[in-house]
């Protein structure tokens, strides 16, 4: 087993990530209630080292690359470490665990970083940091309604792709339509992205998955509404700049690459379709189960 450094605490780890001074040494992140924070740290480490995360069942099974470092960050997530780690090189490998067998702990001790129990204020701080566009009341409400950190994280993911200015309105839209809790964020966003890019093949692939999942169609509609409105604002404004349409440069550029997939006339028609669905649904003219089909027929 390599490495003879003194073990860090969570604050030192945080500082090293922020200062970008964390080396490649093996880490064991030991949590006491939920693995959420440990996973967040792993993501941060992956981001700053620019190493994609590969989750593995056992660190021993990772074959050493004959070309040396393969550029990955290997992560093993287990409830309890019961057997000694035998891998020859442990650089860029992390174990997330809840407990460690006493016999194994002796060898791992210097690598273990204890993750304290998640406090309520930390959960709120996490939501506030990721959703700067929401007011304190909105953040508190979201934290209260989601109850656990994983569900909160799922909801945060849905909103954080929008810029600060739009976050509050998309939050309200999702909230007004009583959508929280039923969406799978990846599916929803892949799906709506495929529609806005007019990528029919991708839409078809995702639809096959959606059929077997509980997907909130009103959520799809809310996000499509916001996405198409952004495209309209950029595509149909003469000489649009990010300032003139009130967007961040990053968001503006992302939307710019999606322009021209639909003509201006089509965009207006799509906008009409989306804004009409709410009343069609609530007045009983369109069953909720048919919303996605209706959207696809009228958009693509």
């Amino acid at each position: 087993m390599e490495g003879s450094k003194k073990c860090m605490n969570i604050i030192e780890l945080k500082n090293k990530i922020e200062d970008k001074t964390l080396d490649d040494s093996f880490l064991v992140l030991q949590y006491s209630d939920v693995s959420f924070i440990a996973r967040q740290y792993v993501e941060e480490i992956s981001n700053f080292k620019n190493r994609p995360i590969v989750y593995v069942d056992s660190l021993d099974s990772i074959a050493e690359s004959i070309f040396g470092d393969d550029g990955m960050l290997y992560v093993m997530n287990t409830d309890k470490i019961t057997t000694p780690i035998k891998s020859s090189s442990l650089n860029n490998k992390i174990i997330i665990c809840k407990s460690i067998d006493e016999n194994v702990l002796v060898d791992l001790k210097e690598h273990v970083i204890e993750i304290p129990k998640l406090q309520q204020w930390q959960i709120r701080a996490y939501a506030s940091k990721n959703l700067p566009g929401l007011s304190n009341e909105e953040v508190n409400w979201l934290c209260d309604i989601t109850k656990d950190i994983y569900r909160l994280s799922n909801e945060v993911d849905k909103i954080k792709i929008f810029n600060k200015k739009e976050q509050s309105s998309i939050f309200r839209l999702l909230n007004e339509e009583d959508n929280y809790g039923d969406l799978n964020s990846n599916t929803i966003f892949n799906f709506t992205n495929a529609i806005t890019k007019r990528d029919i093949k991708a839409v078809k692939n995702i639809l096959e998955t959606i059929e077997t999942m509980d997907v909130g169609s009103m959520g799809v509609m809310s996000i499509l509404y916001k996405s198409f409105k952004n495209i309209i604002n950029v595509q149909m404004t003469l000489n649009a700049t990010y300032e003139s349409v009130g967007m961040s440069p990053r968001q503006f550029n992302a939307i710019k690459y999606n322009l021209g997939k639909y003509t201006n006339g089509e965009l207006v028609r799509i906008f009409d379709t989306i804004t009409s669905i709410d009343s069609a649904l609530k007045r009983g003219n369109l069953p909720e189960t048919k919303i996605i089909e209706y959207l696809l027929i009228n958009i693509l």
Partner: protein, 266 residues
């Protein structure tokens, strides 16, 4: 407590005593007519504690109410609850405890489930007369303009916070320049309206009333068919907005889109 110009409503209330006042009732009237004031009046008259439970409707909360032994008037604002919550209060309306009275505040019947309507006694606000409304207007605002766009004291109160000349200018621009505006330009009007507690923005009803008033006078002056079409479209969407189940922002943006297309039609 002073509820001006609602003699019929008050005389209906006066027919009841604390023993005969219905356990479950609905108060109907447009935004700003004084529904909350009426609920407070009922609570005072029958010596009831008043609690607004709109924000707390859940199965657990309703169950906890049955444990209370203080005579209480529970107020629910129907415009702020979803259909699922309306279903949740059905049993509560049907079998309230002996200490419980419930008042649901709603702008119209269409926003309520028929099962709720069947279980409640209705109290409906009358349309305010011009004379009554004038008592709520001070000299700081243009009285005629105010009365042409507001139909309730509450709306007049909101109007005092509104920059009337700017709103009028916006409506005039809509009447005259929609044909040359870009689509994003047209949709940006929606961002100036108050959909939920954004009181620095224009109230949606006041805005639409002002558009109607502006289009009507423009049509009288120019006899332009397109203005007439815009006027009719505005009326249609004003009516649609009375259905509180619908998302106001979607309605307004569909309305703006329709106006934009009409202005371009040959």
């Amino acid at each position: 407590m002073n509820i001006l110009g609602q003699e019929k409503l008050l005389s209906k209330l006066n027919l009841y005593t604390s023993n005969t006042f219905p356990k479950s009732s609905i108060v109907l009237g447009p935004f700003g007519c004084g529904k909350h004031l009426f609920a407070r009046h009922v609570a005072t008259k029958f010596n009831l504690e008043l609690i607004d439970i709109t924000e707390n409707i859940s199965q657990e909360f309703i169950e906890s109410i049955y444990l209370r032994v203080i005579p209480t008037l529970y107020v629910i604002d129907a415009s702020k609850i979803v259909e699922r919550q309306q279903n949740m209060i059905l049993k509560f309306l049907e079998e309230p405890s002996i200490y419980t009275f419930i008042i649901i505040l709603a702008e119209n019947r269409v926003s309520l489930l028929p099962t709720i309507l069947n279980r409640c006694v209705e109290f409906e606000f009358e349309q305010y007369t011009r004379e009554t409304l004038l008592q709520f207007v001070d000299d700081s605002i243009d009285k005629e303009l105010a009365l042409s766009v507001c139909v309730t004291p509450g709306q007049l109160k909101l109007l005092k916070m509104t920059n009337l000349s700017e709103l009028k200018e916006l409506c005039l621009k809509m009447a005259k320049k929609t044909a040359i505006a870009s689509f994003p330009n047209m949709l940006s009007i929606s961002d100036k309206l108050n959909y939920k507690d954004e009181f620095d923005k224009y109230d949606v009803n006041i805005f639409l009333n002002m558009v109607i008033q502006t289009l009507s006078s423009e049509y009288k002056m120019n006899n332009d068919k397109k203005i007439f079409d815009m006027y009719m479209t505005t009326l249609k969407y004003t009516k649609m907005l009375r259905d509180k189940r619908l998302n106001k922002r979607y309605i307004i943006e569909k309305y703006l889109s329709d106006l934009w297309k009409e202005a371009r039609s040959v």
